[in-house]
């Protein structure tokens, strides 16, 4: 493929130079044309080149799309993702129509109206009817695109999370993601950034009872068909959660919680069959530049069938159970100086409002 592209590129340049050279020769033959205002034959060449360019451009862009589409991301693996994809391709068709029409005009006119000595331009300073039409028609098309987009955007961003949704916390740090599940009580324990230390990457407050069953796995698991509410934050600089196959993206911002609600629809296994790639995996990437390791913040994502998902959840050990000593020690420290900690924590919470 690449060679075809390169060859066509070289060909195009060859044509350009050949034509330009031809004019040079013509010029020399018709020495007289030197005194003329415009070298008519040489001038015409550019009109021809624009048309050739246009044809090659159209063939190239549509042709390459056919070749490239196998490398596009596979079908969206979430409900809103599928809708967004169809809106994307519809919008794409609309803009392509505009693109083709305007380009044909833009490149054919230079060919048709290249300079001729015996002709004058057509003195045509304006025409209000035409101008009105080409203001109003794009405006109408835009309004249609706008409203379909608005509807989808509102759906995606302004829906309440249903009661059965799984809440998962994702935290970005330089240069890795960490995720936390709420455990059986379905409530994430509170956190405070001052509690962060190498044992406690999230700054979990040990005295909060709901933190006791929270677990911190090495992979992100979603249950197919079940809504997922991502609670997203960062602890150092801005990162951005990007789940390309689910059409999910949301910044992780220090000092502020963001969220994204979506429903995965295709399990990892199904996707493996679909793509014919037995090694296929969903991935989480970072899309806000965050420093040296920005390009390497990969995290593995798995979508399970409900039964598998339950099994996976059951197999997870809580963070507390893996760090009994640390947990107990910190709890002691916190409760030993109840007053001081209390007011301090309180203050933090106020200021983070």
């Amino acid at each position: 493929m690449i060679s075809i592209l390169i060859i066509s590129g070289i060909l195009l340049f060859a044509i350009v130079f050949a034509l330009l050279f031809r004019t040079q020769v013509l010029l020399n033959v018709l020495k007289g044309s030197y005194n003329k205002r415009v070298d008519v034959a040489g001038n015409k060449v550019h009109g021809i080149l624009f048309v050739i360019f246009m044809i090659v451009f159209f063939v190239g862009m549509f042709g390459y799309h056919e070749i490239a589409k196998k490398d596009y991301l596979p079908d969206a693996a979430s409900i809103h993702g599928a809708e967004a994809d169809s809106l994307f391709w519809i919008s794409m068709i609309v803009i392509l129509i505009a693109f083709v029409i305007t380009n044909i005009l833009l490149f054919v006119f230079p060919y048709l109206y290249a300079y001729k000595e015996d002709r004058r331009g057509y003195f045509y300073p304006d025409n209000h009817t035409i101008e009105r039409i080409w203001t109003i028609v794009p405006a109408i098309v835009l309004v249609i695109l706008l409203f379909s987009g608005l509807k989808l955007w509102t759906n995606i961003t302004q829906t309440e999370a249903p009661a059965n949704s799984t809440v998962i916390e994702i935290m970005g740090k330089q240069f890795a993601w960490q995720v936390r599940y709420p455990g059986k009580d379905n409530r994430l324990g509170e956190y405070n950034f001052r509690r962060i230390d190498p044992n406690n990457e999230f700054g979990i407050k040990v005295e909060d009872k709901s933190s006791e069953d929270d677990f911190i796995p090495r992979e992100l698991h979603f249950q197919k068909g079940n809504p997922v509410l991502l609670k997203i934050r960062a602890r150092d600089v801005i990162h951005s959660v990007f789940l390309p196959h689910f059409r999910v993206k949301m910044d992780a911002v220090p000092g502020m919680q963001t969220s994204f609600l979506f429903t995965p629809t295709i399990s990892t296994n199904e996707m493996r069959t679909k793509t014919g790639d037995p090694k296929f995996n969903y991935e989480l990437a970072c899309t806000e530049v965050c420093g040296r390791g920005h390009f390497a913040m990969r995290f593995l994502v798995v979508v399970d069938e409900p039964a598998e998902y339950q099994k996976w959840v059951a197999s997870q050990k809580s963070w507390k159970s893996q760090n009994e000593d640390y947990f107990a020690e910190t709890l002691k420290k916190v409760t030993a100086t109840p007053k001081a900690t209390e007011t301090k924590v309180h203050k933090d919470e106020l200021s983070s409002l």
Binding site: F53, S91, P125, L142
Partner: protein, 622 residues
């Protein structure tokens, strides 16, 4: 109105004559270095801009090497880059530094200072019929502030810890914390200083442009007789005056956060093993402030290019620009709307989604005036008598990029679709076409078109044609494929994609893009050569090489200080009387009275003849 003009004008005349007397004794340093002549200042901006374009473009060659050929050893770059090449590999932080510097340089130093600085300075006095800018001194300061800012930015590239590296948008906390990346240390400090000075320069320039356009138009040059170039520069300057101060305050608060322990943008941060004291700040605040400049900046870059093209397309189609008033209207529409769409850069930053809806609405509205502009260009070509000068070719190229890049804006402006595409190569493709390539083409077109006025000589056409075709095709080959990569989700500002299964494709295409970029970049040296060679050895230019209507072509081939040796010409018509039916030639310059062209006057113009004669009498009496 006109009497006021006349008055100011003749006053100015006297003044300018005085000036000319002093002028003869000006030493070299006042004439070419600390010059107050707008034409010299314009050339200073142009040459600085070209210098920066080579640096900024060269940086993109370096990171295209990395992206196109990820496995290759870059050991051979060690003599140039020194410690930034580690074991044959580019340091990932240095990669980010290159991207950041490339963006900053291209947007601010090349396409703001290099473009507006050159052409607003050069053309405003010449095209409105003024001896010089309203304040030559401020104008000179504007260049020298820019120069100082350039020096600081240039020095920052060579600092031990590297230049700023957090992206040209310098989002905190990344840019605020030296612990976060080495470029956020001294490099960032220098970036902020340089930009603060840059803003001062830009403001001085803009204020001057605005004042000059309002006050110093020659007799008869009413607002509705101004060429579209002037309209574009004028509105651009207004946008600059209103938006750059906001960037200044954003930068100032960032300086406070960095150096004085304040918490405007910082809150609840744990980094490098320690929790910082900052609470209560908001990183989003910075983004709002930044994009309040950032989006208008896109138009600060683009509008002058569109103005230049309007002029060139009309002249070389030998036709009036189609819809002159609609063009002015859309310039104002775009300018106004550009202030209320900034948050379309922030759909997925955690900003309130309802705000997202509003900004989506406003963003899509801005497409309408932009579409009108594109249609008007095409309508101007229709049934023209087109002369393909290099400037004309680059202008048509601009329109093509403007359309290709503008259309994808409709997709990115749709918040629901931007979720997936934000910060991917789709965005890189979009803005390189609509803002990067389009504005760059406008700038180059301007140089080809006004070179004869700047240097009194012609650039070589054939080199210009080769330059155009290689660059036009080349830039498409570089930026168009980025759409495909973007649809496949490739994130931008990535040092390498091979770590991800999802992005481990398109290696061929990335290599192809890099090759195309090398070729395109090399072709720019044809232009540089043509430019430098023609300054000294080009064919001598005639007075009005493009048979153009605007006033600058009524000055001598090499205009001196004060522009017109005698009286400033008076303007009697709009600048687009090309191919007027009945006229002897296919153009009628603005300084030709209607009364001397009875054969071509339109009915309403015939009525104006009387009025005009009275005006002439009045100005003669003066």
């Amino acid at each position: 109105m006109s009497t006021v003009n006349l008055h100011i004008d003749s006053h100015d005349d006297v003044h300018a004559h005085d000036h000319e007397h002093e002028h003869h004794e000006l030493p070299f340093i006042r004439k070419y270095i600390f010059s107050e002549d707008h034409k010299v200042i314009a050339k200073q901006f142009l040459i600085s801009g070209m210098f920066w374009a080579i640096i900024g473009g060269g940086m993109s060659m370096l990171f295209r090497l990395q992206l196109g050929f990820p496995g290759q050893s870059l050991e051979w770059l060690k003599p140039l880059l020194g410690g930034w090449i580690e074991n044959g590999k580019m340091n990932p932080e240095f990669y980010l530094a290159l991207v950041t510097m490339h963006g900053t340089i291209m947007v601010f130093f090349v396409l703001t200072a290099g473009l507006s600085g050159t052409f607003s300075n050069f053309l405003i006095p010449l095209q409105i019929g003024a001896r010089d800018m309203a304040s030559g001194f401020l104008n000179m300061l504007s260049y020298w502030f820019f120069f100082l800012s350039s020096v600081i930015m240039f020095v920052s590239i060579f600092t031990e810890t590297g230049p700023a590296s957090g992206g040209w948008v310098i989002y905190p906390p990344l840019s605020a914390l030296p612990q976060a990346m080495s470029g956020s240390g001294l490099g960032m400090t220098l970036w902020l200083c340089s930009m603060a000075i840059f803003i001062v320069s830009s403001l001085l320039g803009s204020i001057n442009y605005i004042t000059t356009v309002i006050n110093l138009r020659t007799a008869g040059m009413s607002f509705l007789r101004m060429p579209l170039t002037i309209w574009a520069f004028f509105v651009t300057a207004i946008i600059g005056v209103l938006s750059f101060p906001v960037l200044f305050s954003a930068a100032l608060l960032l300086i406070f956060d960095r150096s004085f322990g304040t918490s405007f943008y910082l809150s609840e941060i744990y980094i490098a093993g320690e929790a910082l004291h900052n609470v209560g700040g908001s990183p989003l605040l910075f983004q709002h402030l930044f994009w309040f400049l950032g989006h208008p900046e896109v138009y600060i870059v683009l509008l002058p290019a569109l103005g230049i093209t309007s002029e060139i397309i009309a002249t070389n189609s030998r036709k009036p620009i189609f819809g002159y008033k609609a063009m002015i209207g859309s310039i104002f529409g775009i300018a106004f709307l550009s202030f209320i769409v900034w948050a379309h850069h922030m759909f997925v930053t955690g900003m309130n989604p309802f705000l997202g809806s509003i900004f989506m609405l406003l963003t899509l509205i801005i497409a309408v005036p932009s579409a009108v502009k594109a249609f008007n260009y095409i309508a101007t070509l229709w049934r023209g008598n087109i002369v393909f000068t290099p400037a004309m070719l680059f202008s048509i190229g601009l329109v093509s990029y403007f359309i290709s890049g503008g259309l994808t804006g409709l997709i990115l402006g749709n918040a629901a679709l931007d979720i997936q595409l934000h910060d991917t190569y789709f965005v890189v493709a979009h803005f390189h076409l609509v803002m990067g390539s389009a504005s760059f083409f406008g700038m180059v077109a301007g140089v080809y078109h006004w070179f004869p006025k700047m240097f009194g000589r012609m650039m070589d056409n054939r080199l210009g044609y080769i330059h155009f075709w290689v660059t036009f095709v080349g830039a498409y080959l570089v930026f168009f494929p980025m759409h495909y990569i973007g649809i496949a989700g490739f994130p931008r500002r990535y040092y390498s994609w091979t770590g991800f299964q999802a992005f481990d494709t398109f290696t061929d295409l990335n290599a192809f893009i890099s090759v195309a970029a090398f070729v395109t970049f090399s072709a720019q040296f044809i232009f540089v050569f043509n430019f430098l060679y023609s300054i000294f050895k080009g064919k001598k230019a005639p007075m009005n090489p493009w048979h153009s209507n605007t006033l600058e072509w009524t000055t001598p081939v090499n205009p001196g200080h004060g522009n017109w040796p005698g009286e400033i010409p008076i303007v009697y018509r709009w600048p687009y009387d090309y191919s007027k039916p009945g006229a002897a030639d296919d153009f009628i310059p603005q300084n030709i009275p209607l009364s001397s062209t009875p054969e071509s006057n339109l009915p309403y113009e015939a009525e104006m003849v009387k009025e005009e004669q009275e005006e002439m009498k009045a100005s003669n009496a003066h």
